[in-house]
């Protein structure tokens, strides 16, 4: 039980810290949200290329996988595993392991955009 509570705390703290880092970048550099997402994705990807990000995932669970850097981690991880089975796996492995995210983004994106209309903002 204590373990589970601890996992929640770790997820909250690590996830919050990653987001705070992003906010710091926004404040300092005026980067737009699209660029922030790309940089964090690449950061996760490169860290995993050196085998580092998985340590963070082991420690923080969703705190490390929910931020977009976790998506980068997934891509790198898939490519690394794929590379073991040959060059075809090396090339396709990344997107294969990230396919859940991409597929659901496209599917939910299309469906919700069909259903909902933009709202007036104030």
């Amino acid at each position: 039980m204590i373990d589970i509570l601890f996992s929640f705390l770790k997820a909250f703290l690590v996830g919050g810290a990653i987001c705070t880092l992003a906010q710091l970048l926004i404040n300092k550099t005026k980067l737009t949200s699209g660029k922030i997402l790309v940089y964090f994705l690449l950061a996760g990807l490169i860290l995993q290329a050196f085998g580092l990000y998985e340590k963070l995932v082991d420690f923080a669970g969703a705190g490390a996988t929910v931020p977009i850097s976790g998506f980068g981690y997934l891509l790198a991880e898939g490519a690394i595993i794929g590379a073991k089975s040959g060059i075809f796996g090396a090339i396709t492995g990344g997107l294969a392991s990230a396919s859940a995210g991409v597929t659901s983004a496209i599917t939910f994106g299309y469906v919700f955009a069909l259903i909902f209309k933009t709202h007036s903002k104030t």
Partner: protein, 154 residues
């Protein structure tokens, strides 16, 4: 006084502008980003536990299922017109989580729906999030190839 032949005036002016421009309240934005970002990951962790202990998932399937649920939530809140409000409050706290990725897919799709379901909705869907897929795929191919070549020699 065009941009080209008055470099000095320009510099003094730009210095003056940045001097009197309002500053972002740094601490406040960081705090907002921290607790909202943390909270979204907290929900992610709850979803993760749900899949582990109730459905017995693990590994890739677990990671995939969790991100699917988070993307669903992000898309749904965007559709309801709530996510942009969270974004104004939380900044990086709601941009960086995968729900923010979903938001950046759904929001242009909704916006451009008025130009049709193919060239509007579908083609503008990745106007903001497209680079994430592009760099993600290119990055993963690079990593894969490096590991493949490494594997040949070890």
């Amino acid at each position: 006084m065009t941009g080209k032949n008055a470099e000095n005036t320009n510099k003094n002016y730009l210095d003056y502008v940045s001097e009197i421009s309002p500053k972002t309240n740094e601490l406040k934005t960081l705090l907002h980003a921290f607790w909202v970002g943390g909270f979204i990951c907290f929900i992610g962790q709850a979803v993760r536990f749900l899949f582990i202990y109730v459905f017995g998932l693990y590994g890739d399937v677990l990671a995939g299922a969790t991100s699917m649920v988070m993307i669903f939530l992000g898309s749904f809140l965007t559709g309801l017109g709530v996510y942009d409000k969270i974004g104004k409050y939380a900044g990086g706290g709601s941009i960086v989580p995968i729900t923010g990725f979903a938001n950046s897919v759904v929001s242009p799709a909704m916006e451009f729906k008025s130009e049709g379901y193919i060239y509007g909705l579908a083609s503008k869907m990745f106007v903001i999030a497209g680079p994430i897929i592009v760099f993600g795929v290119i990055g993963s191919v690079c990593v894969g190839l490096i590991y493949y070549v490494k594997g040949l020699f070890i």
